[in-house]
Amino acid sequence: MSARAHVASWFAWAPGLEDRPAWEVWAQAPEPLALEGHPDASFLPPMLRRRCTPLTRLVLTAAFGALAEEERPRVRTVFATRHGSINESIELLHQVVAGERLSPTKFSHTVHNAQAGLFCIAAGNRQASSSLAAGADTFACGWLEALTHLEREPGRPVLLVASDVPLDPTFAVLVKEPPGAYGLGLLLARAGTGPAFDLDLAGRGAPGAQPWPDAAEFLRFLLAGEERLELGRFGFTRAA
């Protein structure tokens, strides 16, 4: 079935959940994610790290953690983030309204694919890369977009990074969603040894049914060894 992908490896980071053993403990008794905090991303060159927003640090930490060094330049990538750099865009929008001059660097770092671009630079990666958003369905649509890359080039694994930080308070009041700062990197492949999942659109779940983000819910499902997960309209079934 073409909508199948193996999880070859993963890495996740949220404040207080900073390595695999911590997530394995969390998955036994999950609770909402913390809102504040971001990784130090000390593996990055200082020049690059200095420019990193909290979201960028989360994304790059999840991405580098999920990949062996030799894989970093070789994978295709998909970055799924509902809000992306909107908190930084909001700062720029205030400046636009006030008639102030924008910083060219800040402007070019607020595109939705800013983290993708920075990953490619940091990893020396010249492969295809997508960045997307889909409201409450962002995680599942990121998985789906990763499948489209496996369709285009079945032999090349795809790194899916799902990440968000809490939205600026002005807008947060307008959005109902399980909050949290997190980054999850999943290395997906058409074949391999990791557990495989089939994606379908027969889900009957309510979006945001659990009090933590969908990406964390997927990780809980992965670690718990459960058979079926429904995230909104999307269903994940563990392949035998």
């Binding site: 929008l93 630079i121 010249r126 492969q127 889909a134």
Partner: protein, 401 residues
Amino acid sequence: MTVARPPCRLAALGVVNALGGDAESVWRGLVAGEPSRLSWNDALVPGRRLLVGAVTERLPEIPAALARFGCRNNAMALAALRQIEGPLREAIARAGAARVGVVLGTSTSGVSDAEAAFRYQHDHGGLDPAFDYAQLEFGGLAAFAAEWLGVRGPVYTLSTACSSGARALASARSLLAMGLCDAVVAGAADTLCGLTTNGFGALQAICEGVTNPCSKNRSGLTLGEGAAMFLLTPEAGGIQLVGAGESSEAHHMSAPEPSGAGAEAAMRGALDDAGLAPDDIAYLNLHGTGTPLNDTMECQAVARVFGTALPVSSTKPLVGHTLGAAGALEAAFCWLMLERSERGELELPPHCFDGERDPEIPPVHLVGKGESARPGAMLRVMTNSFGFGGNNCTLVLERQV
């Protein structure tokens, strides 16, 4: 490597940009090759008059039931969708709402309306009650289109800066090939706004007057806005999307790698994906932004892949650089060329500039006014899109005579 996949028909197109609000006026403007539909704007950047490719048609109202999506970007998308509402509704009825997907691209979403909401906040101290986050978030564009159409398949918005629209078509084709959808609505919309005009202004990337691609006098881009929406079906015949090539540059956030290696990889990838040789391509729509770096690196890459005989042109002097919509709009221009070809003759959109070619750029064949091509039994055209973050996507469209 070529993946065996079912056909991918670009079955219908709705399009709006500075040239007009329907396919016929866009096509006429394209082959006329006059940037006369650009207009001056002094409200976008403080203290500066900008020539922009603004859409001057009145855009449709967002239906009251979808008021939370009410913004110019979604109205732009709706203007394009309404042009093909008949074929879209038929395809949905045929496939069933759950088997129809929506994959769109944008780089601005509803930022232009968010700016108005921020002005309101500055003046009144609270959020404009008419403002909803669904207007600003990137996912809002595809969500709006899906709700307007009443479809329940996969719905998401790709945003990879100026390659967003091309990428949406590539992903939509894969959704059909995977058998997850029986029809996909794919395309893009982008809107002129203070954020992008001031941002590109700060990067000193906007020229005075009209952009002048491949000229020795070129000094930057002209911004624009627009939307192009396609219906994709897994049927043979008509106009087919046959190739997509993608690359990243790992070089710089806002400047292309100067040798054109990333552009070359995208073009070669699209040819490989389509199982074609360079000689199979009859025309290439350049990314052609008119910035000094882009045109040099792109023409070098084109010359390495195709030599200098292939007819090429940039259509950005006619409509402006529509950023997130550019990839879909330029695919739309390719679609119109193929659709309107008669007896194997392809009328080509001319390359508009001041005629003073940059001697530092390889002598690629820039299309002149009134020029056409007669490539043979298969008409195949290519379009390039390169974005911030070093994100490239090239598409190949085909029609059998």
